[in-house]
């Protein structure tokens, strides 16, 4: 029974049936369905959404809606996980990525897609938002110890801000603690060298590949 319900939840989420999906998730949790398993089903659904986005079937709206549904279900399920098993079988700690749009730039749609794609591929993403000062990046890497830092920017002047931020990492003595990837509308190898980053990506899929390569993780089937 629950297997069939689980499959139905995956389908509803992947097909953007927001109201029905949220209602079903609530019903399953109320009936005692394992919240950890439920979140696993969400990841399964999000992987389908990611694949449909890559195939151009889905567009920005669907990614954003998927993100919202995921957040809502997470809010329902996570409190129950604590009750179910206190400090039980902790899985290997997820790899962390700190991401943000550099100072002077407010564009965040591309960054949000990267965050979403990293998230459904099993990374723990700390998103600092837009117009992020160098100091906020430094504070975040000191707190979270990420394996990768993602700097996003769409404006050409953001390239200066990327360089500025990476220079600040160096001055603060943390530059060697993680890899830095940059992304945005118009980055290329030249910009990567100018800014002093380790890699660049033209889209969210490339961002996931970069992180997978650096952290030695196999790419999830997507």
């Amino acid at each position: 029974m629950s297997d069939a319900e689980g499959q139905r939840l995956v389908t509803l989420l992947a097909d953007m049936q927001e109201a029905e999906a949220l209602e079903l998730a609530r019903r399953m949790l109320d009936a005692g369905f394992d919240p950890v398993k439920l979140l696993g089903l969400c990841r399964e659904a999000m992987a389908i959404v990611g694949a449909r986005y890559e195939a151009q079937e889905y567009f920005l709206t669907e990614l954003m809606l998927a993100g919202e549904m995921l957040t809502e279900i997470g809010a329902m399920a996570k409190p129950l996980i604590g009750q179910a098993r206190d400090a039980g079988t902790a899985a290997a700690a997820p790899v962390k990525v700190v991401i943000g749009t550099v100072h002077g730039d407010l564009h965040d749609i591309g960054k949000n897609i990267v965050t979403f794609m990293l998230d459904i591929n099993g990374y723990e993403v700390v998103d600092l938002g837009v117009n992020v000062p160098s100091k906020a990046f430094i504070d975040a890497v000191r707190e979270h110890h990420p394996a990768v830092v993602g700097l996003s920017g769409f404006l050409t002047l953001a390239f200066d801000a990327m360089k500025d931020t990476i220079d600040a990492f160096r001055t603060a003595g943390v530059r060697e603690d993680f890899r830095v990837m940059i992304g945005g509308g118009q980055v290329d190898e030249r910009v990567m060298k100018f800014a002093g980053a380790d890699g660049f990506g033209q889209n969210a899929v490339e961002a996931v590949s970069l992180c997978d390569g650096w952290t030695g993780r196999a790419r999830h089937a997507g």
Binding site: F59, T61, L155, L157, A161
Partner: protein, 569 residues
């Protein structure tokens, strides 16, 4: 494809991968290539299809002209310089001022020395019947009485520069003649962002952009004066309304502040400088007057649009939408004005669309769904060469109507005119067999570009209304301004969700309002003062983080789930 060319004579180079992706084997054999992919090694003849050439003339848009009280900021006086000089104790300038002030004491208080140099020549030639032009107490020109005092009104657009020549002694907004030309800056980038990026690269780049803008203005000045049988030296004032970036570039000002958040302009207020030293051909002492802006990217051109709108004396609550690469939107309730600018991109003007082109002969400008198929018409009923902005909006509405795209904008593989070429999915508008050249198509990426553009405009409208606490249904009218807005099919714009679904009677298309606005500021001191007041009082809605713009944008990227209930024209 905007860079499609055919090598008709001589050896065509090997096609690149990008060429192979774009053209069929037959097209490649016929010599079709993308100009951006070709390096010519030896002599050959290249045919550039009409749409690619920069020859597309700008179609004149509807002008609404009316008589207004003659009250120009530059005053003119017919004078007679007779009698003998009063001796060495008085200069010729005193004599000129006395002649001007004979009936209007204190009208003129000073004379630009350049005017005296010109006057010397006139006196020598025995010209005594003159027209003097005076701006704020300063004499800025004298010409023989048989000539005229002219003003040049410029609508400095990112894509097009419009010019209007006005006779300051006639109380009508009708220009003696008008003309539009492609902004020469387009050679350095089609949109404001590209040009900003170029300008911040170096001082030299910035000055290049300034020179190109002024070249465009001077070309218009020369051409208009020739048409009106006048000389550029008869132009006693130049009034320029452009978007924030265009005005900064024309003034030669640094634009770094506009290239990054929070997008602060260096000069927001009106700017008044001597035209000649700036590099504009006009009378030696004439001023160039730049419109004040509202803030951020809501610049002088939009103030000009509001001015033209106000001249219509509308009452109630109006939404004014000026669609372009940046779309400016204002909510107007009597004296209360709030405005914002949203980045709608060039797609709605046919830019960055695979087969996009200017609204010139051969452009697909209308599309209608008929059952599961659709039909198109072109400007001048010429063979199709591409698709223009108004055609793009019509097409997306028709694609939805005929079931070729779903409400998410995805092209449907099952539709008879949708095909997959490698990873590219596209709708075939004109098959290869029906024309001399590659098939004209509308790709999935083109649909997405339109979705982003219309999503941004609708989100801008939603944000502006939400901030002002006004419901869509409470709008008495929606006024669509601009040359593109004039040709836009409103039912299609509503059908794709770009504009709110309201009764058709509440919609109005007013054409080139910016052009009318700059003319009003030439002819009327009252209107020019009002422009300053608008710029000062209008509330600029910032789209900084937390403005909810992105959330609204995401909500409006999809097409309305059910086709809007608006009668199709």
């Amino acid at each position: 494809m905007s860079c499609t060319v055919q090598i008709v004579d001589g050896v065509a180079p090997e096609p690149s991968d990008a060429d192979r992706e774009m053209f069929s084997a037959k097209n490649l054999a016929e010599g079709w290539r993308r100009a951006c992919q070709v390096r010519l090694g030896q002599g050959c003849t290249v045919r550039v299809p009409g749409k690619s050439a920069l020859t597309a003339s700008v179609r004149p848009t509807q002008q609404e002209d009316f008589r207004i009280a003659l009250d120009p900021p530059v005053r003119t006086r017919r004078i007679r310089l007779d009698g003998a000089p009063a001796g060495a104790a008085a200069g010729h300038d005193d004599r000129l001022l006395a002649a001007i002030n004979r009936r209007d004491p204190d009208l003129a208080r000073s004379v630009d020395p350049q005017v005296m140099a010109r006057l010397a020549g006139l006196v020598e030639a025995g010209e005594t019947a003159l027209i003097a032009a005076i701006f704020q107490g300063e004499v800025v020109n004298v010409v023989p009485a048989r000539r005229r005092a002219l003003a040049l009104a410029i609508d400095l657009g990112t894509t097009t520069i419009g010019g209007f020549l006005l006779d300051l002694r006639r109380g009508s907004t009708a220009a003696l003649c008008h003309e539009g030309l492609t902004n020469p800056q387009v050679s350095l980038g089609g949109d404001v962002v590209t040009r900003l990026n170029f300008a911040v690269g170096s001082d030299e780049n910035r000055h290049t952009l300034q020179r190109l803008a002024l070249t465009g203005i001077n070309r218009l000045a020369a051409s208009l004066c020739a048409k009106a049988d006048a000389q550029t030296g008869d132009i006693v004032e130049v009034v320029i309304g452009g978007n924030t970036v265009m005005q900064h570039l024309a003034l030669g000002l640094p634009v770094a502040g506009l290239a990054r958040a929070p997008f602060v302009s260096l000069v927001r207020g009106p700017a008044c400088v001597k035209a000649r030293p700036l590099g504009i051909d006009a009378a030696p002492a004439a001023y160039a007057h730049f419109f004040p802006g509202i803030g951020g990217f809501v610049g002088g051109d939009h103030v000009a649009v509001i001015l033209a709108f106000e001249a219509r004396q509308a009452t109630g609550t109006s939404l004014l939408v000026d669609i372009g690469t940046n779309t400016e939107i204002s909510l107007i309730r009597g004296e209360q004005i709030s405005s914002l600018s949203c980045p709608s991109g060039p797609a709605l003007e046919g830019g960055e669309i695979t087969w996009g082109m200017a609204a010139a002969s051969g452009a697909i400008d209308r599309c209608t769904a008929t059952g599961t198929d659709l039909s198109c018409s072109t400007i001048d009923a010429a063979p199709a060469e591409g698709i223009c902005g108004s055609g793009v909006v019509d097409l997306v509405a028709a694609l939805r109507d005929c079931g070729a795209i779903n409400f998410r904008g995805r092209l449907q593989a099952g539709h008879p005119r949708v095909r997959d070429i490698g990873k590219r999915r596209e709708f075939v508008l004109v098959p290869e067999d029906d024309r001399d050249g590659p098939a004209i198509v509308f790709t999935q990426a083109d649909v997405r570009a339109v979705q982003l553009a219309k999503g941004a405009i609708r989100a801008g409208i939603a944000l502006l209304l939400a901030r002002s606490g006004v419901a869509e249904s409470a709008l008495d009218r929606i006024v669509v301004a601009g040359a593109f807005g004039m040709n836009l099919s409103l039912p299609s714009a509503v059908a794709i969700g770009m504009l709110p679904e309201l009764p058709a009677a509440r919609y109005e298309q007013i054409g080139d309002a910016a052009g009318l606005g700059v003319r009003l500021a030439c002819l009327s001191h009252a209107f020019r003062s009002r422009a300053v007041q608008i710029a000062r009082q209008a509330q600029h809605i910032d789209m900084a983080p937390g403005s909810a713009f992105h959330g609204l944008f995401a909500r409006h990227i999809n097409l309305p789930a059910s086709p809007a209930a608006v009668t199709r024209s």
